[in-house]
């Protein structure tokens, strides 16, 4: 198992811990303006668990995923995988790291070079990690991982990207990640380009993988899909976590005004927007004028979450956390 290469063996199930990380992009002429894309974010993805990271476009989801994949520097505190701090990994150590942690991204077409056959993504992995494996054994390995994503080798090998559908291309990328015996998969908007039926196939696949012990960070802007496979939901707004917890709690009893506004916007079958809105307004009545976070931490004034000494989230009920209701960064309540 490739994972044995990660020293500092994990507490039985712990997989990835994100601990108070932030990211500021420099934008504008000469990089003179700061754009805080991720602010003081902490959460955990355990082995065999799907964590859905949900938020509107620009909320910092991709940036967080890139930090875990070390495609982006880690600032603030740190990220550990199986108990090992990954923020300082250099070349050789990174290469070993990518044996156990891989990412798949939104637009399957952009991950392929149109002038090469799609299965080149496999031979690139072979050259990098499995140079010593002989051809026959490699073919068996590839076939097995294609089967795991329910593709038949005849159907997809030896074809150019334009001869395959978006769903097939997306599943090939997941199959490539599986060749590496990974422990953690970062899946960034991998289904938003696919149509309903293909989406379900890919989601069911994630569920199967999680049953085999893989930890998955499932990044999406679609709440209905976020709920289907996930064990934990993290709602991100302008780089901050505003609500987090078991999906039943977060979706069934949303507390933060932002989560509620997101939920009222999800197009649902059988329930029109007006109805969802009316129901949530009824549920909100008891919370008007309150802020659960500051009821729990009355002295926590000032911008929430920038101070590492103070928790950014309050536990509202078992396995359900919420930030200050005004937590959009600029003001407090």
């Amino acid at each position: 198992m490739a994972t044995t290469s990660l020293a500092g063996k994990p507490e039985a199930e712990r997989c990835c811990t994100v601990d108070r990380v932030s990211m500021v992009y420099k934008i504008g002429a000469f990089g003179g303006t700061d754009l805080p894309a991720v602010r003081d974010v902490s959460f955990e993805v355990r082995a065999g668990e799907v964590v859905s990271l949900i938020g509107e476009s620009g909320s910092g989801k991709t940036t967080l995923g890139k930090m875990i994949l070390r495609l982006c520097p880690i600032t603030g505190e740190t990220i550990t995988v199986d108990g090992v701090d990954i923020s300082t990994f250099k070349r050789r150590r990174l290469k070993t790291y990518y044996r156990s942690v891989q990412g798949v991204f939104q637009d399957p077409f952009s991950s392929y070079n149109p002038i090469f056959k799609a299965d080149r993504v496999f031979s690139m992995i072979k050259d990098e990690y499995f140079a010593e494996v002989n051809a026959a054994e490699w073919r068996r390995k590839v076939a097995a991982s294609l089967e795991a994503v329910r593709l038949s080798p005849d159907e997809v090998l030896n074809k150019y990207p334009h001869q395959l559908s978006g769903g097939q291309l997306q599943r090939i990328l997941i199959a490539r990640a599986l060749l590496l015996d990974i422990r953690l998969l970062v899946a960034d908007e991998i289904i938003s380009m696919l149509d309903a039926s293909t989406r379900i196939d890919v989601l069911n696949l994630l569920a199967d993988l999680k049953a085999q012990g893989l930890g998955i960070l499932f990044i999406t802007h679609d709440l209905s899909l976020g709920n289907y496979v996930s064990d934990k939901t993290v709602i991100l707004r302008r780089g901050r976590i505003v609500e987090m917890g078991a999906p039943d709690r977060v979706f069934g009893n949303p507390l933060h005004p932002y989560t509620k506004s997101l939920l009222t916007s999800v197009p649902q079958l059988h329930r029109k927007w007006e109805r969802v809105e009316a129901e949530l307004a009824a549920g909100r009545a008891g919370l008007t004028g309150r802020c659960i976070y500051h009821e729990r931490y009355p002295n926590g004034d000032g911008p929430v979450g920038l101070d590492a000494e103070r928790p950014t989230l309050a536990e509202a009920e078992d396995d359900h956390f919420v930030a200050c209701f005004q937590a959009d960064g600029e003001e407090t309540c």
């Binding site: 379900i200 989601l203 709440l223 999906p247 197009p267 649902q268």
Partner: protein, 318 residues
């Protein structure tokens, strides 16, 4: 809502390719009433965009094989690009799929608007006031006209596109996947703007193309489902969602995850198999290979017939 606005009859449109004709639209017949918002749904590649484009302008590789399109009782010369110019923009307008990414990034939005209007023989000055009024209506500041497309967010761009495309109050607006790339809050705002524009009379009828049935369920009066270049079913929105008759529609609806549905409780199945190639589509019902109800008769092609008032289905079992 009784007067017919759009009437499409026996429409066949093919794409010419090196390997032969792709039969992307085959014998399509339907009508859209005055004031109706119709959702057009179906799997990727089933011909939704092709249908939308056929109502407005065929591109170089498309071939008008047969059939007619009438708008407000006047036949559209869809095979004749030059003559269609009189109708585009004033009578029918399409917001193309990927319109947002198609905006020229080096042209200020105001300049682009002006050029677009002038190419239609409309002087910018004559619509300036109305343009500003409508920008306000969708929450865009006047100064968007001085900005470049890359400076706007996805939602702002999409609202700008909507204002532009309805500025001359067309009879029919075709919106192709205008919300697909947006997050849920922006998606809702854009969808509601479409309804609002219809209610204000900026546009009379609409065809809203999407692969997301739950989105058109929110805003459409009727939904039409396509499968492999043919019509499968058309009915009022609630009928399509609550009691669809075509096996394909039934599978499509039941394959959608709803908020609250969890894999652990209910494993959704999707629709096994994939649609047939349109280069050489099979005879008979095109859904036959994947249809759980298929029987002998399905080797003949089922006609698209009205089974109840306003409810059309192409299936021998319906």
């Amino acid at each position: 809502m009784s007067k017919v606005s759009l009437r499409v009859a026996g429409l066949k449109v093919h794409y010419r390719t090196l390997r032969g004709d792709v039969k992307a639209l085959d014998d399509v017949t339907f009508a859209v009433a005055d004031g109706e918002t119709m959702g057009l749904a179906g799997e990727s590649g089933c011909g939704k965009t092709t249908l939308g484009k056929s109502l407005i302008r065929l591109d170089g590789r498309m071939r008008h094989v047969d059939g007619t399109v009438e708008l407000d009782d006047e036949e559209l010369p869809i095979g004749d690009t030059a003559r269609m110019n009189d109708f585009r923009f004033r009578e029918v307008f399409i917001i193309p799929q990927y319109a947002m990414s198609a905006m020229n990034p080096t042209r200020k939005i105001g300049k682009m608007t002006k050029e677009l209007l002038e190419s239609r023989g409309v002087r910018f000055e004559t619509v300036r006031t109305e343009l500003k009024r409508r920008l306000e209506l969708v929450g865009l500041a006047h100064d968007v006209l001085d900005r470049y497309p890359i400076e706007l967010s996805g939602g702002m761009k999409q609202r700008m596109v909507m204002v532009l495309s309805t500025l001359l109050n067309p009879s029919l607006l075709v919106a192709d996947e205008v919300t697909s790339a947006l997050d849920v809050s922006t998606q809702r705002a854009v969808a509601e703007t479409l309804v609002d524009f219809r209610d204000r009379g900026f546009v009379r009828s609409m065809i809203v193309i999407t692969h997301d049935v739950s989105l058109v369920y929110q805003i459409a009066d009727s939904i039409m489902v396509m499968y492999a270049g043919k019509l499968a079913e058309k009915a009022p929105t609630d009928v399509i969602v609550d009691s669809p008759r075509h096996p394909y529609t039934q599978l499509l609806i039941s394959s959608l995850p709803e908020v609250g549905v969890k894999y652990a409780d209910k494993r959704l199945t999707g629709i096994p198999g994939s649609p047939p190639s349109l280069l050489d589509p099979p005879a008979g019902c095109r859904f036959r290979d994947r249809c759980p109800l298929a029987f002998d008769k399905c080797s003949e092609e089922p006609p698209f017939v009205e089974v109840e008032h306003g409810h059309y289905v192409a299936c021998w079992k319906a």
